[in-house]
Point group: C2
Chain length 408, copies 2
Amino acid sequence: MADLATCLPLTRASVVEAHNLIRPFIHRTPVLTNRTIDGIASTPRTPEELNGTPFEGATPSNPKLRLWFKCENLQRIGAFKARGAFHAVERLKREPGWEAGGGFTKGVVTHSSGNHAQALALAASTAGMPAHIVMPKISAPPKVAATKGYGANVVFSGSTAAEREAVAAEVIASTGGRMVPPYDHPDIILGQGTAGLELQEQVAEAKTTTPNSKSKSGPTALLYSPTTAPSSSSTNSGLDAIMTPCGGGGLLSGTVLSAQGTGIRVFGAEPSLDGADDCARGLAQGKRIEAVKSLTIADGLRTPVGKHNWAVLTGETPESNGQGVHGVYAVGEDQIRAALRLLLERLKIVVEPSSAVPLAVVLYNEEFRRRVEAEAGPEGWDLGIVLSGGNVSLEGFAKLFPEARERT
Amino acid sequence: MADLATCLPLTRASVVEAHNLIRPFIHRTPVLTNRTIDGIASTPRTPEELNGTPFEGATPSNPKLRLWFKCENLQRIGAFKARGAFHAVERLKREPGWEAGGGFTKGVVTHSSGNHAQALALAASTAGMPAHIVMPKISAPPKVAATKGYGANVVFSGSTAAEREAVAAEVIASTGGRMVPPYDHPDIILGQGTAGLELQEQVAEAKTTTPNSKSKSGPTALLYSPTTAPSSSSTNSGLDAIMTPCGGGGLLSGTVLSAQGTGIRVFGAEPSLDGADDCARGLAQGKRIEAVKSLTIADGLRTPVGKHNWAVLTGETPESNGQGVHGVYAVGEDQIRAALRLLLERLKIVVEPSSAVPLAVVLYNEEFRRRVEAEAGPEGWDLGIVLSGGNVSLEGFAKLFPEARERT
């Protein structure tokens, strides 16, 4: 990982710079809209649905929402993680003395059994350097195969964080490779923020150039833009807010940076199961929660927020002017499943459960919905949602939706 | 349906005109590429896979293929059928005397339990006219609900073709509405052909404007274009061939027209189960097959090719110069399932089984693969594949992939 002293400041301008650096390597993923899902989001929940919640007996809220889905499931390696990994590697290549010090031979190291492993493997092989990936022995064989398929050297470890870190330290000692953590580093944060930047550009393009684009009252439109479009420095995107999932906080904190100075609100979405809503709880108590142990189906979001990510989310960085994330909301497992089903059956794309958490908040978190109604009024909001990834198998879906097989 | 005498000639220019007419109402759906699937398509099958086929003992072919997937599953109502329905309705509106004759009050009629029902319902309600849709009593309730959800008047009938046609005749007699058949009409053919036209435009744009676009040897790229891009009259798209599924033949015959004079070869793909490969068999015997009774999982392809469609596919229309479809290939149910799984797990989009039939041909039909190798040589082909629709539920997938639940 690039030395912290050589990192760019945590600002929107740095996200734009990161975007320029990684654009040749990533996809400019499409942004989709869907009238049916907008209609559901803009319909009050039934009073019965609020039973057993703090809003029992209250009139259900009636927010108006036009949703813009940024399809990072269609990103390379099937997840936004490609952005941060390519940015980390491209920055490393430019670090003074890195090449002379044998960096291209020593390569990079990480411990991950998920999308970051595949992303770093791809970024490293593209740059012509080795990637040493520490994975627990119990990792699913397809994930190990996929990581090896991107050219990585996979090293097995035990399953606990301590065991994995010990093996990673050994690998670093023996190879001289540089650690690239999955989320807790400025280069990763800036790379992930490029998804938010693109989303802003693409919505702005749709609103200014497409006659049948989504407007406050007009029809919806699918939206794509040439992969060559330059990074816009415009801050008038037509988006009122963006929501992303929050696990380690790389995507969410990068998105906060991408919205700096634009007036766009940024929200995070977490699973509530077993305390996986560590970001929301940490914000409430004014202190980062350092450990999470949850078996939520949103398996990308089982990690606590990282230190650098926390500083951005709380507006504690020197460049933030005190502005961090505007709010973080949590939802239950069945709500995640229901949102996931809508994305599959209505948006017709394959996403992993973590990707469905923001839509679950939008549809089922009454606290968030009340906020939209109060802040947006009858005009409503244009809300961007980052669909973070799509790495799930048919077997995974069969586990997630047991009721689907019983009905057949 | 517009009177045949008022229809445009069956030419590429008419497809361009149809595109101009329907562009405000349809999505310019994205085109996706995928290195993993290209790699599988460009790898010889094992000798064992050819056992039990006419190619047993032969050296497996080694074609090179770069695939461009046109995502009509992301089209409005979730299928390409929106194109033909909007075109039919827009042409009707312009038919001399139609409005004066009360056409906006009488509306349109069809019998369909599938995507055409929803497409016509949407097109009619958009145009401000009623749609009377005859559906078998045994239709799946979600399909009936979806069709009603687009504002249609659903009329139930028995399940046989004769019963459905009798009820449709009654509805036409009582309402004065105009019949809009699902595929066997020039207006429908020209509308469906716009998918092929867009695909050609989008690949041409990617090849000329995107630095990291797919080239003979370069990296792949996701590809989107503004929905406002004008119809290109260029015939140099960079595509060597296009393949679409073939049921009634609306999409395939429209695609043949869209490729007229461009040098692009057009192929059809069918299921072989229970004789659902009626188009291939008809071409072989020089005579259209008029009835099909198959329970293939590719349920959109259980119909025989229509008369107008057949004339286009065989190059018998006055404008065709004798050039119809370049070939039609068939695959088995397990091959369709395997291709469908790749589209779900690798391309990360939700498609219905019919959409997977062309990819199944590309991956598993040795006759087609030999043809590519022979005609394309080591350079290979850029092959466009139209993914026709995505209307399938989680329950549908559970039925299609019983092994997925057993493994969980």
